[in-house]
C-alpha cells in the first residue's frame, strides 16, 4: 500500500467511520510505515488540541449546552470507558506535578499489574479499590504519606461519583 492517504481518510480513520476491510488495510500499512504512523500521531495531536481549544472558546462563544454536551460525549467515547478514563486521568493529573509524568505513568502501570490487570485502562470495576490502594503505597514511598493520602481520597471519591 502506497501513501495515498488524504486528510479525509485520516479523519475517517480517527472517527472510526471507515469500513472494516479498509481499516484493516490501513492498520497493516501503519504497522510497517513509520512516516504514516507519525502522520497519524500528528493528526491525533491536532484532534486533541482542537478539543482543548474548543474548551477554551466555550467561555467566549455562545454555544448551546446541548451541543457542548454532545461534543464532550463524542470526545469521551474516543477515550474508551468514560468513567474509567476520567478517573485515571484525574489521578494522573494529581500525580504528575508531584512525581513527574514518567513516574506517574509507571506507578499507575505498576499498581495495575499488582492487581493482575495488563494495563490501567483494562481495569475491571471491582479491582479499582485495590488498584488505588497499591497506587497509594507506591506514592507513599515516593512522595510521603500525606501526598499518598490525597491519591487515596481522590481515587475513592471518584469511584463514589462514578457509582452515583
Amino acid at each position: 500500500m502506497k501513501h495515498r492517504m488524504t486528510e479525509e481518510d485520516w479523519f475517517a480513520y480517527l472517527d472510526d467511520s471507515t469500513s472494516a476491510p479498509e481499516r484493516l488495510r490501513i492498520e497493516k500499512h501503519l504497522h510497517s510505515c513509520l512516516s504514516c504512523r507519525e502522520t497519524l500521531e500528528l493528526m491525533r495531536a491536532v484532534d486533541g488540541a482542537l478539543l482543548s481549544a474548543a474548551a477554551g472558546l466555550r467561555s467566549r462563544v455562545t454555544v448551546s449546552s446541548a451541543a457542548i454536551a454532545e461534543a464532550r460525549e463524542k470526545a469521551l467515547a474516543r477515550l474508551g470507558d468514560h468513567s474509567l478514563s476520567l478517573r485515571l486521568g484525574s489521578l494522573y493529573l494529581l500525580l504528575a506535578p508531584m512525581c513527574g509524568v514518567e513516574t506517574s505513568s509507571r506507578a499507575m502501570r505498576a499498581a495495575a499489574q499488582r492487581v493482575s490487570a495488563a494495563s490501567p485502562r483494562l481495569l475491571e470495576e471491582r479491582l479499582w479499590p485495590s488498584f488505588v490502594e497499591h497506587l497509594h503505597s507506591i506514592v507513599a514511598t515516593l512522595c510521603g504519606e500525606p501526598s499518598a493520602r490525597l491519591v487515596l481520597e481522590r481515587g475513592m471519591r471518584l469511584q463514589q461519583e462514578a457509582a452515583a
Binding site: P97, G100, P120
Partner: protein, 284 residues
C-alpha cells in the same frame, strides 16, 4: 514553616551572598567571615527543620524516614562544622581534629541519606535503570578524587603535625567521592521521572553534592600557593555558601510538595480530554 516557600529561600540566599561579598570586597574579612557563618547556620537550620518535617511524612516507610533523618543529622553536624571553621578558634588545641571529625561525620550522614533514598526508589519496582553512561560518570568522579588523594600534599590539613586530621581529611575525600557516585544514580532516577516537584528537590540535592565535589577539586587545583588565590578565596567562599543554600532549597522543595498538591484543584473534564496530547499518558 508552611509559609517558607522556595522563593523566600532564593531571596535569603541572594541576601546572604551579597552580605558576604560586600565586606569581602571592602577588605573587611572579619565581617565577611561572621556574615558567612550566619548565612550558613541559617541555611542549615532551615534545612534541618524541613528534613525533620519530611521525615515525619514517612510514618509507615522506615527506609525513607531514616533517609531524611540522616539528611537532618547532616545539616545539624554541618552547623557545628562551620562554627568550628571560624579563624578565631584557630588557637584552640586539637581544633583540626574536631573540624575533620565534623566534616567526615556530615559527609557520612549525607552519604547514608543518599544511599538509603536511592535504594528506596530503586526498590519501588518502577523500572528505574542505571545506564552505561552513568557508570562512566561514576568512574570520572572516582578518577578526580583519586587525583586529590595522590597529590594530598595540597590538602588544607596536610601540614598539620597530628596524624588524625590528616587521615580524616583523606577519608572524607573518599566519602565525598562515594556520595558523588550515588548522586549520579539519583540523577539517573531524576531524568527518568519526567519532571515534577520531587525531581526538582532531588536535583537540588544532587547539585549540592556535585557543587561540593567541584569545589574540592578546583580548590585542589587552585591550592593556597597558587597566584589565583586572592580571587579564588572570595569566589570559593561564595560558591561554598551557595551550596549550603542549595541543600536547604532541596529540602524546601520536597517539603512544599504536599502543600502544593493540597492546593491543586480537581481537574476539569476538558483537562483530562487534553491528555490525549500527553505522550506518557498514551503509554499507560
Amino acid at each position: 514553616m508552611n509559609r517558607l516557600t522556595p522563593r523566600w529561600l532564593y531571596c535569603a540566599m541572594a541576601a546572604s551572598l551579597a552580605a558576604v561579598a560586600l565586606p569581602a570586597l571592602l577588605s573587611q574579612p572579619r565581617a565577611a567571615e561572621w556574615l558567612s557563618l550566619a548565612g550558613k547556620e541559617l541555611a542549615y537550620g532551615l534545612a534541618t527543620a524541613f528534613c525533620l518535617r519530611i521525615a515525619a511524612e514517612y510514618r509507615r516507610q522506615p527506609v525513607l524516614r531514616s533517609a531524611w533523618f540522616l539528611l537532618a543529622s547532616k545539616a545539624i553536624v554541618s552547623m557545628l562544622r562551620h562554627a568550628l571553621e571560624m579563624s578565631s578558634l584557630e588557637p584552640l588545641p586539637h581544633i583540626h581534629v574536631y573540624r575533620q571529625i565534623s566534616i567526615t561525620l556530615a559527609l557520612l550522614f549525607l552519604l547514608g541519606g543518599m544511599v538509603t533514598m536511592a535504594h528506596a526508589f530503586l526498590r519501588t519496582g518502577l523500572g528505574f535503570r542505571i545506564q552505561r553512561v552513568d557508570l562512566f560518570a561514576v568512574a570520572l568522579v572516582f578518577a578526580l578524587v583519586s587525583v586529590i588523594l595522590t597529590f594530598h600534599d595540597h590538602l588544607s590539613e596536610a601540614r598539620v603535625p597530628l596524624l588524625a586530621p590528616r587521615t580524616l581529611q583523606l577519608f572524607s575525600q573518599v566519602v565525598l567521592a562515594i556520595a558523588g557516585a550515588f548522586s549520579v544514580i539519583l540523577h539517573r532516577i531524576i531524568l527518568e521521572m519526567g519532571g515534577g516537584k520531587l525531581a526538582i528537590a532531588m536535583r537540588f540535592l544532587v547539585a549540592h553534592i556535585v557543587g561540593r565535589v567541584v569545589l574540592v577539586v578546583t580548590g585542589h587545583i587552585l591550592w593556597p600557593n597558587s597566584p589565583l588565590h586572592p580571587h579564588w578565596d572570595l569566589v570559593s567562599r561564595l560558591a561554598f555558601d551557595a551550596t549550603t543554600w542549595i541543600f536547604a532549597l532541596a529540602a524546601c522543595y520536597r517539603a512544599s510538595m504536599f502543600t502544593a498538591a493540597l492546593r491543586q484543584a480537581p481537574p476539569k473534564p476538558e483537562e483530562i480530554l487534553a491528555l490525549s496530547l500527553d505522550k506518557q499518558w498514551s503509554r499507560i
